[in-house]
Symmetry: C2
Subunit: 323 residues, 2 copies
């Protein structure tokens, strides 16, 4: 099933303890699309300025990404973000944000983008997320990401957007902030209860069924109404640039699900998706921006998923315990 993603396409300036880049291709939709492109065709919807060139589009095209809904705004400037990471890469300061063409962005989806059965609403204003979501009423799997800014200034709108999707992917701190619940399970269950009960095409009630808590260097947890799953991040001795890791993760997650069109959204499917998502995110952070994922191969992804399995399995031979 093809995948549509709506979100930012950007130029990033990033400084980490390991180097810096003054201007590189970035943005949530870009990182997502590159990761998801290993699984299915991806259609990108987002605005760019006149400063966005064919070379940048070619990065996406080379991975088979459909860029026909990338809208070039005459006279506009592409979204620009400048950030710097702290010594342990767990903190980052935003030094500059120039919205450019992203200000006043009104997503225009072609018939082709609207026909996708899987949709990712990357981190944009929640009302826009709802508008886009409404344009794909028959999508079989819709996920969204968000950020602390929208929790601060558009919480109700974000909750409405969440009630309209199948899957919420947030940092665990954002989950806590959004729900006011410090406990991960309690917070996730609050979001799982947000459905409005209205029937959807598949016959099920609308509302999120899957919550993914991103935990940075610690990994990710997945909570559904029935089960819990957690996976550590793939251990890397050298992390160069975490920018886009969350969107690469989402790309792996939705890509894997889209690649199994005839399967029910089972625990097994979701866990396989989590493993592939974790693998994609781990490659993303190995180099700046899209550098590593651009030359990633399918064999490398498959090998890393196997390594993830190897570092998480235990047999735990039973031991005679003393009561």
């Amino acid at each position: 099933m093809p995948i549509t993603v709506v979100g930012s396409i950007a130029f990033d300036a990033v400084k980490t303890p390991f180097g810096e880049r003054e201007r590189m291709l970035g943005g949530a939709a870009v990182h997502f699309a590159l990761a998801a492109s290993f699984f299915q065709e991806v259609r990108v919807v987002g605005p760019v300025g006149e400063d966005f060139g064919e070379a940048e589009l070619d990065v996406l095209r080379r991975r088979g990404v459909d860029v026909s809904d990338v809208e070039r705004i005459p006279g506009g400037k592409t979204f620009f973000w400048r950030g710097e990471y702290g010594w342990d890469l767990n903190s980052r300061d935003t030094l500059d944000t120039q919205l450019g063409v992203f200000e006043g962005f009104q997503p225009k989806l072609s018939q082709r983008s609207r026909s996708s059965e899987v949709l990712f609403l990357a981190n944009i204003q929640p009302d826009l997320q709802r508008e886009v979501r409404a344009q794909l009423p028959d999508a079989r799997f819709v996920a969204l990401d968000s950020m602390n800014l929208w929790i601060d200034i558009a919480r109700d709108s974000l909750l409405s957007a969440i009630a309209s999707v199948d899957c919420v992917i947030l940092n665990d701190a954002e989950l806590r902030q959004l729900t006011g619940k410090p406990n991960l399970l309690t917070a996730a269950r609050e979001l799982l209860s947000l459905g409005d009960g209205s029937p959807q095409p598949g016959g099920r009630a609308r509302g999120p069924r899957v919550i993914v808590a991103k935990q940075g260097e610690y990994g990710e947890a997945l909570i559904t109404g029935e089960s819990f799953f957690a996976l550590p991040a793939y251990p890397l001795e050298t992390v160069i640039d975490p920018t886009g890791a969350g969107d690469s993760f989402a790309g792996g997650l939705l890509g894997y699900i889209a690649a199994h069109p005839s399967e029910k959204l089972s625990d097994e499917l979701l866990r396989g998706a989590m493993a592939h998502a974790t693998a994609l995110a781990s490659f993303n952070v190995e180099e700046f921006g899209t550098e590593r994922v651009e030359r990633l191969t399918a064999a490398e992804i498959a090998a890393r998923v196997e390594e993830l399995r190897a570092i998480t399995q235990f047999s735990g031979a039973p031991v005679e315990l003393r009561d």
Copy 2:
């Protein structure tokens, strides 16, 4: 193989968002001993004051713990700690510490305590840890815990202590602080290289072979020279009191290893130990102090280890990736 633990025996006053206790049994050696007692006989070495009664000792005795090396200091007061946890339980403030008999503590190990083949050096002054370690030259597995205080004021001494043990169990923030390395793998490898090369009874070089990074609510990672393993914390909707979780974890870890006396320190053994350690820690935090572990059963531990396996396994059916 019996286990000896040297560390604090305490009264704790704890306040969490879910309640408080004015005075309850605590201390690293106590939490460790109760957890390890499910696997092997435990011998506790530590000082208490005249205010420490038979009722407290009975908590240990009921679990078969040997308390004959618990030294009651005439006229002394038992170590006392008062702390308060923040809303998400990830931060805590120490409001009062009264060392009491712990000040000037000189561990005296009976022949029996010195004959254990497994030793846990709970968080005490690193020079004392080295002294105790030297009294069990033939121990087959020795682990230590420590804290930021000793990294601040006795770093060299702590590094010497670390070089004399097989296994280091630290919070990941402490690992970073101790090594100055923000990356977990790099930090762990630095500690793994600390051996002084002098031969030990088993023929191997002295120095840590196993590093365990405790990651609080996220779980734990295990790093050896050859491999990496990570396990999430057991997901709990209600965490009442995290005090002693790390020591319960250590008790489960060393207990499991001690319960496999004839096995090599293989990856499989260590991973089984991590799973049991994680289970023990999860019970510890379900209630205040030792309340939950005091009435824990072997069947509950075994069931939780199985649950840990269930929440970490994935099959990840291979998917045809697009190169």
